[in-house]
């Protein structure tokens, strides 16, 4: 039997992480080492959204992102 997975909590944390990393990227506008690493983190966050957030709420997929 598969162990239960708290998908809502996963999703909340992913959304929270995106906000934090987007803010990092904004703050790093004049700090390439911050901005570029934040950009890479956003690419990884996108994988988390594909793996979790999209599955949880397919109706919530924004066609423009």
């Amino acid at each position: 039997m598969q162990p239960s997975i708290d998908i809502e909590n996963l999703n909340l944390n992913i959304r929270s992480a995106r906000k934090a990393v987007e803010e990092l990227k904004r703050l790093g506008e004049n700090f390439p080492a911050v901005a570029r690493n934040a950009e890479r983190m956003l690419a990884s966050l996108k994988m988390l959204e594909i793996n979790v957030s999209d599955v949880m709420d397919p109706g919530g997929i924004d066609p423009s992102t």
Binding site: M47, N51, V55, P58, D62, T65
Partner: protein
Amino acid sequence: MNYHQPYWNPILETLPPEALRQLQLKKFQRIFHWAYTHSKFHRALYRSAGVAPEDIRALEDIRRVPTVEKSMMRQIQGKDPHPYGDALCVPLDEVTVFRQTSGTTGQPVYQPDTWQDWEWWAECWCYILWSQGYRPSDRVFIPFGYNVFVAFWAGHYAAEKLGCEVVGRSDDITKVKGVLLAPSAIEEVVRGIKGLGDEYEVVVDKTGDAETIRLRVEVLPEAQDQCTLIQSELQDQLRLKTNLRYDLEICGCGTLPRYEVKAKRFKDLRSKKTE
């Protein structure tokens, strides 16, 4: 982390079929909308077929979307934004990786990707590798060329993402004039120079103690008047990338042999002479 978990994504991989189809539709709508709004090439193609994002309401509607053929990609590459043409769906400065198809059936098709694209490629392979039993404690060897050819790179990155120890390249590197030479480096240089065709031939030979590398390339008809410039750039790039000097021969387009299967463009005559 639980190594015994059989699924890379226990949510997605156990989704009921109807929920999976709903998700597939939403994802298709998203990517279609993105291509339509960000790429002139795709928008023109879809408009000519009379299909727009709002027309995709069910999975059956996907049949209305025309496919993109390799020949179309070959026609637009080399144009602005150079060298990908207007099929790009992101600004050129977001492209972080260039790879291409093998060129087995003709001119290689360029493949520009963003960092996120490669995260996604690797993610797809992670599903495969995890389901096949690969785990972070494993050591993985992927015997491919590690060159500009697009295939298998995602497998390499996926194995890294899984946490495996990935053992790298061990291929046809050879020593010429005391310098290690990867034939793929020559291919990358030749195919990166504007005005040259994709065909080439390398012959490594030995006369007495002296080793030579003869490189034959084809100049495209529209660049015939720039042979001197091209030859100079080719020699400079080769020296930069391989640290070796070449005897260059610029041939007319269509002179070199074409191959229907994977080309054997690198010939080493030294070993034959010592046999």
